[in-house]
């Protein structure tokens, strides 16, 4: 019977597939001790798998097996919050973003780390970072990534159009971009405003640099009435639509695209560049602008406003539901330890987490341009801390996109945003 053979064949095929699949997996051979599951976004500068290698070294040293899950930031955010909402239990070490501190504290999701942390670590790590991840006097996260952004630019392109200095204010940036465009550059700059939380980061940074506020000190929304916030949005709308100094692809671009466009020499300014951009730009296998990038001494700001750069530090935390807290802490301690921090900085150019590494001669000779950061880093600001940050980020980008597309005026968009934020705040306090 032919049909029988067919079915038998299908089953056989399936079996063969499943067997070959089993043979292909590569499991770490040490499975003696504990096993932890770690969920983090990949480090934005880690193109060589440094943290993955370090994780494997950790397993080799301690015998603790690590299931390391790396995803894009927004995917991680979805996963972490879904899991914690469900009562947790899936992960032992999780990403803990600076925007989540209020929400996670409110829900009492995390294990306080004060009893774990050594005195050396507490006094050695950057104090500002530890403070960011503390709430009500308790420490909930150990920073693993000092993600601070800096204003960088393409000095060669500026030179070619007769500019010897980078712009300091948005007005100057606009003027220079128009001249560069007239000289044949496609766009002055590109930014990332996708309908994701990374888009919300960029919009927030713009507002800060105009001296604007989205929320007041008590966490009440004020974007609808703040004239400086309005000026910031008006500038973004104008740059995308009228002066066209910003690449319209900013509306969907992720950070990586912004970097790719910049290192292809299609834009002159990188408004919120992470330190790794400097290295990619000078890597001849990736970049068309080797030796052209420079770090500005002063971050961009509106006339009369203070310069601001965005800081988006990320920490590792242990959910209360973790069944393997000791092993989890061992992993955190290893990954954020001083020695590995220095190695990482040397390998991928990440900004150190430890205070004294900023004066370490090995590092300062390898990265002389870090000296330029110091002018900007003093003006670093973080995202607003809200219990309803995720929902807020979603509607912020919805309204921002409407303003960018001019389907709403900036005034109306901001007023609507404020109204929706107030409604959200009301919902969460009930």
């Amino acid at each position: 019977m032919k049909k029988h053979q067919l079915i038998a064949g299908a089953v056989g095929l399936a079996l063969a597939l499943s067997l070959s699949a089993c043979g292909g997996g590569d499991k770490p051979s040490t499975s003696t001790g504990d096993k932890i599951t770690v969920l983090l976004p990949a480090h934005e500068m880690d193109n060589i798998g440094f943290n993955e290698q370090a994780t494997r070294d950790f397993t080799a040293e301690t015998g603790i097996e690590v299931e390391l899950i790396y995803m894009g930031w927004d995917n991680v955010a979805d996963r972490v919050i879904a899991d914690l909402t469900a009562g947790g239990g899936s992960y032992d070490v999780i990403e803990f973003d600076n925007a989540w501190v209020a929400k996670f504290y409110e829900n009492d999701w995390l294990e306080p780390l004060d009893s774990y942390i050594s005195e050396e670590m507490r006094s050695g790590l950057l104090q500002g970072l530890l403070e960011t991840f503390s709430s009500d006097g308790k420490l909930y996260g150990i920073p693993w990534n000092n993600d601070t952004r800096f204003f960088m630019y393409n000095a060669a392109i500026l030179q070619a159009s007769g500019f010897s200095k980078p712009p300091e204010t948005w007005e100057q940036l606009e003027e220079m971009s128009l001249k560069l465009k007239a000289d044949g550059l496609p766009y002055g700059y590109m930014d990332a405003y996708p309908a994701l939380q990374s888009g919300a980061n960029e919009v927030t940074a713009m507002v800060y640099s105009f001296g604007g506020e989205l929320f007041d000190a008590d966490g009440q929304p004020v974007m609808g009435t703040d004239p400086k916030t309005k000026a910031a949005f008006e500038f973004m709308v104008k740059s995308l639509n009228d002066t066209k100094i910003a690449d319209p692809a900013s509306l969907t671009a992720d950070y990586e695209t912004v970097e790719n466009v910049f290192i292809s020499g299609d834009t002159a300014f990188f408004i919120q560049a992470w330190p790794g951009v400097f290295q990619s730009a000078n890597d001849p296998t990736l970049s068309l602008i080797v030796d052209q990038i420079a770090v500005a001494d002063v971050a961009l700001h509106a006339n009369g406003a203070e310069q601001v750069v965005l800081t988006l530090p990320e920490a590792m935390a242990i959910p209360k539901t973790s069944k393997n807290k000791a092993a989890a802490w061992q992993y955190i301690e290893y990954m954020s330890g001083r020695d590995l921090d220095k190695e990482r900085a040397l390998a991928i150019g990440s900004l150190p987490l430890w205070q004294d590494l900023y004066t370490d001669t090995d590092l300062t000779t390898k990265y002389p341009y870090w000296a330029n950061f110091s002018g900007q880093i003093a003006h670093a600001r973080a995202l607003p801390s809200l219990t309803y940050y995720d929902e807020y980020a979603n509607i912020l980008m919805e309204e921002a996109h409407m303003m960018f597309a001019k389907t709403k005026t900036v005034e109306k968009g901001l007023a609507d945003l404020q109204e929706r934020c107030e409604a959200l705040a009301g919902k969460y306090t009930n």
Binding site: L6, A10, L17, A21, G25, E44, D83, E256, S264
Partner: protein, 343 residues
């Protein structure tokens, strides 16, 4: 009202004018190396073809019809194949090839490195998602095959009963089965999630298997019942007279005849379960249960998706369902149509 001959004359005149215009346009286009507004050009071509149709002889028309037919067929071919071809090309490219401007349609140096990473592990290279590929592949296979086997066994019994017996609640239960197919997954996801987390089924293969049965089983019952309906009862009756029990007759007589339908439904169920994403995305967290579609979305750095790796994994993940479907396409098409015609 003009007479038919008059109309034809005018038509011919317009057609001649169009022909001259078109020739002039093409000539100037070649001369200036620019087509001008392409939509106007396209409209002109369409008008020329339509009018020309009425100018031609019957024999020529037949030939033209073939030309049009082959033209349409090639359009369909390109439309169907081009996107997937691009995925395959991307999977043997490097990132530099993909972001080159102007775009390189074929990679400068095709490489199979991405496939090597995916299949044989990536110690120390690229992202960890690649090293999870084989784990997720295994999960997908286990889950899919288990779902298909359970659904097939349970579904066969039920569809046989619905087809061969009349009992109290027969049509009510049958309609209930059909009705559940109309429930959108989004209604189920919240209660299943809440229940699963209470009984510890979140992030387990068992949880996904149970969930997938919710849409595979009703479908299977419905289709299989259609097949069994089509098999005359006298065959079974003869077997039962020969001393087989009811189920014995079913297994020995009905099953072999229904084999085509079985094959089709099995493949269909396989594809449904293999490709499922919505539940998997929300119910899985780690490699304990993560399926391929979920891992496919994880090929990204912190700042952006890694299209090269995602394309490679995408091609590999497509192989099982696509190959199975292509090999057994005859059964699938009969299966699909049987389902729809009877459903």
């Amino acid at each position: 009202m003009t007479s038919p001959t008059r109309t034809r004359q005018i038509g011919r005149l317009v057609w001649y004018i169009l022909s001259v215009l078109l020739a002039a346009w093409i000539a100037s286009g070649l001369a200036w190396q620019a087509l001008g507004p392409w939509y106007l050009f396209a409209a002109l071509v369409v008008a020329w073809v339509v009018l020309g149709w009425h100018q031609t002889s019957r024999k020529l028309r037949k030939r033209l019809r073939r030309v049009v037919l082959y033209g349409l067929a090639s359009l369909i071919l390109v439309w169907t194949i081009a996107p997937f071809a691009w995925l395959v090309i991307a999977s043997v490219s490097t990132k530099a090839d993909l972001i080159a401007k102007p775009l390189r349609w074929l990679p400068a140096k095709p490489t199979l490195q991405n496939y090597r990473d995916m299949l044989f592990g990536t110690a120390g290279r690229t992202t960890d998602a690649a090293s999870q590929f084989m784990g997720a592949f295994t999960n997908s296979l286990i889950i899919t095959i288990t779902v298909v086997i359970i659904a097939l066994m349970v579904g066969l019994l039920a569809s046989y009963a619905y087809s061969r017996f009349r009992f109290r609640g027969h049509s009510g239960l049958l309609n209930l089965t059909l009705f559940t197919q109309m429930i959108p997954a989004v209604v189920l996801i919240i209660p299943l999630y809440i229940v699963f987390r209470q009984v510890g089924l979140l992030d387990t293969k068992a949880g996904l298997i149970i969930t997938y049965l919710s849409f595979v089983l009703p479908y299977l019952v419905w289709i299989l019942k259609g097949y069994i309906d089509g098999i005359p009862t006298d065959l079974e009756e003869a077997a039962m007279i020969d001393g087989c029990g009811r189920l014995g007759a079913f297994v020995r007589v009905v099953l072999p005849v229904a084999a085509t339908g079985l094959a089709a439904t099995v493949i269909f169920a396989f594809i449904l379960a293999w490709n499922e994403f919505f539940f998997a995305m929300n119910f899985t967290q780690t490699l304990a249960s993560k399926t391929l579609p979920v891992v496919l979305t994880e090929f990204s750095s912190k700042f952006g998706p890694n299209f090269v790796l995602a394309a490679t994994a995408g091609v590999l993940a497509s192989l099982p369902p696509v190959l199975v479907a292509l090999i057994f396409q005859k059964y699938i098409i009969t299966g699909l149509s049987a389902g729809a015609l009877k459903g």
